[in-house]
Symmetry: C2
Subunit: 350 residues, 2 copies
């Protein structure tokens, strides 16, 4: 009994302080906590063990003080951080829908073990794709790419699409989906390795390294001689301005993430876009994937199909160990990651 | 013969210099020019006499140096300014479609008399509404209001709509169309007379005088306790920011005119809107009425119906005299006009 408790020592990571600017190790605190007692399980509850934990730049916004957003995502001080995770059920009273051993995903606490309501979990089909993709390619990043490109960008075959943060988890999916649809796709990223990845692994028409480009506006113009019909923006800031200056009439700008702004305490200033929006009859639209939750299943099926027939490439950047979750999150803002950042916390069936 | 030439002395107003900032009388030059000879009329041409000339803030943008826009609106130095005008045909070789005496409208030169192609004119039905409305309520300003509210704003009954520049030619139409559709409508304007006009003549739910309001963001919040679903923006700048801060989830912002920016040589800076667009899944969209030219006839019919049954009020601010066109245009930027600014150049059948 003692032996078992030692083996399954539970831990959690809480928000220690609201970060100002880029989060640091002081933003987080790791606590030893008790194992949740299986005996306490209600009929609609299961005990789960975290397997893969996803870290995403967008979580930075939930760490600020202030009013909660509609989705209830704000983190509270001294409470566990939550993020999309893949877990395995290790105890269940409900053997019909959710059985011991099943793989599930959901927005779980950063805890090694926890009890969750079956209302808050969804089953993962391990046959479809590697289970970690349930919170990446087939999860929120993939869905953000899918709906941002189709619903907000409304891309049409033959159009020119520019994607910023193109080597990231959302950007790499958005770029590929546009390419699959028959668009000309230019991706922006910040290292030679990423440009190589965009042009040679993902097959984009052109990768532009913003860190090695003096005049981004001219570089986008050169890369997009017919102008930019759709801009899928994950970055914001001066990079936005450079692409926006090349937007075509009736152009559409999907504002997905704004990694350049997540760590700003106040909204930064920039050239007002209104006059150009009028001149070009163009549109800027923000979105969160939950706006399209009714259509998640269709999107996942389509992306899994593309993945399985080799049209959609998915790259994962994996760090191991529960204690390394904060470092993995902080690393997102260093701009060096290619593909989706994940943390592997435990093995299945261990 | 001499007598007739003296009576029908022709004049034109040309762009004398590209204005920097607000246009002045130096921006324009009035020239005496020859009468166009009727004998020179081709079969598809008519000789017209200008009756009403419209001046609009948006024309300011066409006075700048630089690349032409898609609509070919840029004015060239020493060439006549053009604007939407109502004219009467005083000579025609085509007696089937366009007869002598017919009232027409189009984008005409600032000339008292001119020859135009019948491809560039549209007939005005004097039975529908006063003929000057062909270039105001039933012209571009009315159409901008109509399509901006319905196509870009996509208003729904019961929603809260805020209109800036609400006492202007476009704003007053947009406000009333939203009201007719069953929205709660708050109008922003800059004088007690305008607020009175909004609340008592147009019947808006609330008028907010931005010149007498310290904290516009709080004032909009107080006027819109359920937040702002649709913002029809004719102004831009700090006023935009104050309304934008109150935008609801899935809010829509129709960027129609930006009078605060027309006289800026460079796009002004302001808080970047991207983060809020994401948080609110909101949309900012620019447009020009020509995007919807296929649907002009239906829109005009609908607005004439509202006008004739008293639901839509139209106020005209009339200045008389061809030589006063520049002053009427410059006056637009002094912010004192209520309703549509027009210049009456001549009488019909004189």
């Amino acid at each position: 009994m003692n032996n078992k408790n030692t083996k399954k020592q539970n831990k959690e990571i809480v928000l220690a302080e609201h970060p100002s600017g880029v989060p640091t190790t002081d933003t987080f605190q790791i606590n030893d906590i008790d194992m949740p007692p299986s005996a306490a399980l209600e009929d609609n509850e299961v005990l789960i063990k975290s397997i893969y934990v996803s870290v995403d730049p967008g979580m930075r916004g939930f760490m600020d003080k202030g009013e909660d957003d509609a989705a209830g995502n704000k983190y509270e001080l001294n409470q566990p951080i939550t993020s999309r995770s893949v877990a395995q059920i290790i105890d269940s009273n409900d053997n019909s829908l959710f059985k011991k051993g099943d793989i599930v995903h959901g927005r779980f606490k950063w805890q090694k073990y926890q009890i969750v309501s079956t209302d808050d979990i969804e089953k993962v089909d391990p046959e479809l794709a590697p289970i970690s993709t349930a919170v990446s390619m087939l999860g929120i990043p993939g869905l953000a790419a899918y709906f941002g490109i189709f619903k907000i960008g409304q891309i049409k075959q033959g159009e020119t699409v520019v994607v910023s943060g193109a080597a990231g988890s959302v950007g790499s999916m958005a770029s590929q989906i546009a390419k699959i649809t028959g668009c000309k796709v230019v991706g922006i990223a910040g290292s030679p390795e990423k440009i190589d990845y965009l042009e040679n692994d993902l097959g984009l028409d052109k990768g532009v390294n913003y860190k090695q480009t003096e005049d981004m506006q001219a570089a986008i113009k050169a890369a997009c001689p017919n102008g930019v019909d759709v801009f899928f923006d994950n970055v914001g800031g001066a990079l936005f301005d450079a692409v926006f200056a090349n937007i075509n009439r009736q152009g559409r700008i999907a504002i997905c993430g704004q990694i350049a702004e997540y760590n700003e305490d106040n909204p930064p200033k920039g050239p007002r876009p209104m006059h150009t929006l009028i001149k070009k009859s163009a549109r800027m639209e923000g979105f969160v994937v939950y706006d399209f939750s009714d259509e998640f299943d269709d999107a996942k099926k389509q992306m899994a199909e593309w993945y399985n027939n080799g049209q959609l490439i998915y790259k994962e950047n994996l760090i191991e160990g529960f204690e390394n979750i904060p470092a993995a999150f902080i690393g997102l803002f260093e701009g060096e990651n290619i593909g989706k950042q994940m943390v592997k916390v435990a093995d299945i069936n261990e």
